[in-house]
């Protein structure tokens, strides 16, 4: 492998791995936030769509 090939391999692979890491971190945090949303949100959503709601 030439120095040029090594340069491109190192540069591009680090960028791709970092990008994948960013996407994974974002998805796991989005999931954590979704799970922590209070159940009243879904009740409100149900009310808006014509579902059962409180008095």
């Amino acid at each position: 492998m030439s120095y040029v090939d090594a340069g491109y391999a190192v540069g591009l692979s680090v960028l791709v791995l970092y990008a994948i890491g960013l996407v994974v971190r974002r998805r796991s945090l989005e999931r954590a936030v979704e799970l922590s949303l209070p159940p009243s949100d879904s009740a409100d959503g149900a009310a808006e769509t014509g579902g059962a709601s409180g008095p």
């Binding site: 040029v4 340069g7 190192v10 971190r25 974002r26 989005e30």
Partner: protein
Amino acid sequence: MSVRPEIPSAAAPRPRWLRIVGVAAVVSTAATVWLGLWVTPPDKIQGNLVRLVYLHPPIAWVALYLAFGLAALSSLLYLWRRTRSLFWDRLAAASVEVGVVFNALTLATGMLWGRPTWGVWWTWDARLTSTALLLVLFVGYLALRRVPADPEVRARRCAVAALIAFVDVPIVHFSVIWWQTLHQGATVLNSNLSPTIHGSMAWTLLLGFIALTLVFVWMVGVRYRIEVLADRTDAEHLEVSLAERWAEGDLDIAAIAAIAATNASNGGTGASLRPPTRVGP
């Protein structure tokens, strides 16, 4: 002094422009690699080694000027009272992290170019040393962000740290002029503003700059959202801990006030500090 505690909705959809930038970044980077490795001619003196010019300077451009420049500007806007907002602090944090990755790559690709050209992997040349120092300074910034503190205090001290670290950027830029260095002078942004690269090589280099700028914008966009989501989950963990402490009945008034202040400045989710209505056994 007030910090606008804005936390954009975590449930908000991902911006469409970010997806477009992401696709454009992938396409333009692929085009740069194709042109750089297979289409452009070898150099008269450097031969095929010149192909690293389509990668190394664009990476350095992103690290030094875009990432750390944006971090310094955001830090300045945070420190200025009129524009003080946690938005700038988060943008600086996102920009520095991406910049550190690009700075490390600048050194790595530079070493891979230096070994066959200069005969050494590393030398304590002014350009190389000041670039390595820049990496250390901004890694220090990232370490400072991990030190537990009130978000406002953390934002202020990190903004100052970013501005101090940024002082090294002009030193890196002018190091090849101020000192005798092994590293060559600027190819495009030289003192005469007359690029010493032409034809397909110049266009490919320009495309490389555009491609890695798009990569940077996409990465900062995603990293900024991570910062927002992390702030939100931190605030929620705080509320859960608070509820548990209420249940244990060992919260005093001073502790409540301190936690309320922290939560407010962190852009808390708005939950009140009243005790939970149902307390477990």
